[in-house]
Symmetry: C2
Subunit: 281 residues, 2 copies
DNA sequence: ACTTGTGAATTCGTTCACAGCA
DNA sequence: TGCTGTGAACGAATTCACAAGT
C-alpha cells in the first residue's frame, strides 16, 4: 500500500465555486472523469502469460486520476499549458514524481514550456481507459448502495450504472434513479447481457463473497468492494477495496499517537488556525 | 526535507493487560457497508517534543485494522489461538508480513503454538488507539453524508457521531439518527465543545477546503476526506482520503489493460469460477 | 514437530540532480 | 533561460529463509 509520505499539501488547486453544502463529492468539474487517490489491496496476480505488460505501476495509475481532475479544471479555465511544477503542486505531489509518472504514459511535454493541457487530458484518459464507458453493476442497494446509485457523477463520468441488485424483496422491483433493482440471483444473466465490466459490492460483509462469486461468474473482472471483508477471487480479477472502518482506525491511531493516551478531554484549547501553507520545502 | 522520517526504533509500550473478550468492540460488521481505504499525506512533524516516535509504519497500521476484524470474528467463534499462517490467509496477506507487522507492535506469540486471540485483539486495539471512543464530526449531510451518518456500525465501533453539519437551511435543524444537523458556521465552537477529534468531510469539492479549515481551527487533527480535492492542511494534521472516482478509474485502467481496446462486447462466456484460493471463511 | 521472530536479500517507489532541448 | 525527461541514489516495504523457542 501506499501511503505517500507527506508530500506537500499544495494549495487549493481548484477555483472554488459552487454552493457549499449539498451532497457528496460530485466534484465540480464540468464533465470529464476525474478522481483522486487511494491505494489498496490490489491483488489479482494476472496468472496468464501476460506478455510484456505493466509499464505503468499501480501507484502511478492512481495518481493519474488525480492529475486528470486538476487538468480538467485547468482545461475548463482555458489554460493552454501547465508546468510540471504547477500541476504537481495542485495535485499534492512532488514535481519529479509527476514528470516520471507522465513520462511513463509516453507523455510529451515541451521543454522550456510545459505540457499542453488538452493533449495531456486526452493522453491520461486514454491510459485510464476512459475513452469509452464502462457499464457498472451495483450490488446491495442499502444505505450506502442507495447513496452510490443516486450519485449522479457516477454515470456522468463514463461509468453508467447498468444494473442494480439486492435480495431484499422490498427493494427488488423498485427504481433508483431510473434503474430498476433486480434480484441478486439474476446477476450472472443480467451482467452478461448488459456487458457489465465493473461490479460494485455494497452489501453486508456476510453476503459479499457470494455476490463477488456471481459477478466473477458473469465475467466481471474488476470489482470495487465496500464490504468489510477480504474477497477471494481467481487470478485475473482485480479487486479494489474501500473500507471505512480501516480509515477510521488509521486516523484513530494517529490521534492516539499524538496525545499519548489522553482522550479528547478538554476543549482543545489551542486555537490553532495555522498557516496551512505548503509544507516542507 | 523536513520530514523527519521516523527514525527512532522505540517500541510501543502496550499495556498488555485486559481481559480476554470484553468491551468495546470494533467487531465485525453488524450490518451495512462501510469503509474505505486509502492513503494520504501524512507527516507533519508534531511540533512538540514528541518523545518516542514512530515505530509502526503506516502501511502496517492499515493492515492492523484488517487483522483486527478477522481476530474479532475468531474471538466470537471462541478460538483461543491462531497461527500467523491462518490469520494471514484470512487477512489476505503473506504470513511473513503479518508476523513482521505484529512484531512491530510488540506482539508476543508463542513459538510452536501461535498467537492468543484475545490478547492479540487487545494489543491491536491498544495500538490503534481504540481503547477509548473518538468523537466524530461529519460535515455535509447530503447523499453520501446522510448514508454515512445513518450507518450504525460507525458509532458501534467507538466512533460516535458527535455532530453533523451542513449549510443547507433545509437540512439544518433536522435530525439524522438522533443527531441534529447544525450549521457549518458553528463547526469551530461545537467541535471544540464536544471534543471532536476526527472530522469527516462529505461535502462537494468546492466546499471541502473551507470546511477543512474550520475543522482544523476547531482543533481537529485527523480528517477523512470524501470530497474529490486535495486538502491543504498545516503540519500536524492527518488527512486520509477516499475517492470513488479514483477507484473507478483505476479499475477502468485494468479493464482497458485486459481487452486491448474492445469494450465489454460478448457475454464473456468463460464460466470462471475458479479456485478462489486462500482467504476467507 | 511446529511456529514465531527477525536479519538479509530483494523489490518497488520516491527523490535527486543534471543533461538535453526548445 | 526554463522546463522536461531520466539515470542514479536513496529509502521504504515485502519476501525469504532460518535460527530459536516451546
Amino acid at each position: 500500500m501506499t501511503v505517500d509520505r507527506g508530500t506537500r499539501p499544495a494549495r487549493r488547486p481548484v477555483p472554488t465555486t459552487r454552493t457549499p453544502g449539498d451532497d457528496l463529492a460530485p466534484v465540480d468539474v464540468p464533465e470529464g472523469p476525474d478522481g483522486s487517490e487511494s491505494s489498496d489491496s490490489t491483488e489479482s496476480s494476472d496468472g496468464d502469460t501476460d506478455t510484456a505488460s505493466r509499464p505503468v505501476p499501480e501507484a502511478t495509475v492512481a495518481r493519474l486520476a488525480v492529475y486528470l481532475r486538476v487538468l480538467t479544471t485547468l482545461l475548463a479555465e482555458g489554460r493552454g499549458t501547465v508546468s510540471s511544477e504547477e500541476l504537481a503542486a495542485a495535485a499534492g505531489v512532488n514535481s519529479a514524481k509527476l514528470r516520471k509518472d507522465l513520462s511513463l504514459i509516453g507523455s510529451s511535454g515541451v521543454r522550456g514550456v510545459g505540457y499542453d493541457v488538452s493533449r495531456l487530458v486526452a493522453e491520461v484518459e486514454a491510459t485510464l481507459g476512459l475513452t469509452r464507458p464502462h457499464a457498472v453493476a451495483l450490488v446491495g442497494v442499502g444505505n450506502l448502495g442507495h447513496a452510490l446509485a443516486g450519485y449522479g457523477g457516477f454515470a456522468a463520468r463514463g461509468f453508467p450504472v447498468a444494473a442494480l441488485f439486492d435480495v431484499d424483496p422490498a427493494l427488488v422491483g423498485t427504481t433508483v434513479d431510473g434503474v430498476e433493482v433486480e434480484h441478486a440471483d439474476t446477476i450472472p444473466r443480467v451482467c452478461a447481457e448488459r456487458g457489465v465490466t465493473i461490479g460494485v459490492v455494497a452489501t453486508p460483509a456476510s453476503a459479499a463473497q457470494t455476490v463477488c462469486d456471481h459477478l466473477v461468474a458473469a465475467g466481471v473482472r474488476s470489482i470495487l468492494n465496500f464490504a468489510p471483508t477480504v474477497l477471494a477471487v481467481p487470478a485475473g480479477v482485480e479487486v479494489r477495496k474501500v473500507d471505512l472502518a480501516v480509515e477510521m482506525q488509521v486516523l484513530s491511531f494517529h490521534v492516539a499517537r499524538r496525545h499519548g493516551t489522553v482522550p479528547a478531554a478538554g476543549p482543545t484549547a489551542t486555537p490553532r488556525q495555522t498557516p496551512r501553507e505548503a509544507v516542507s520545502r
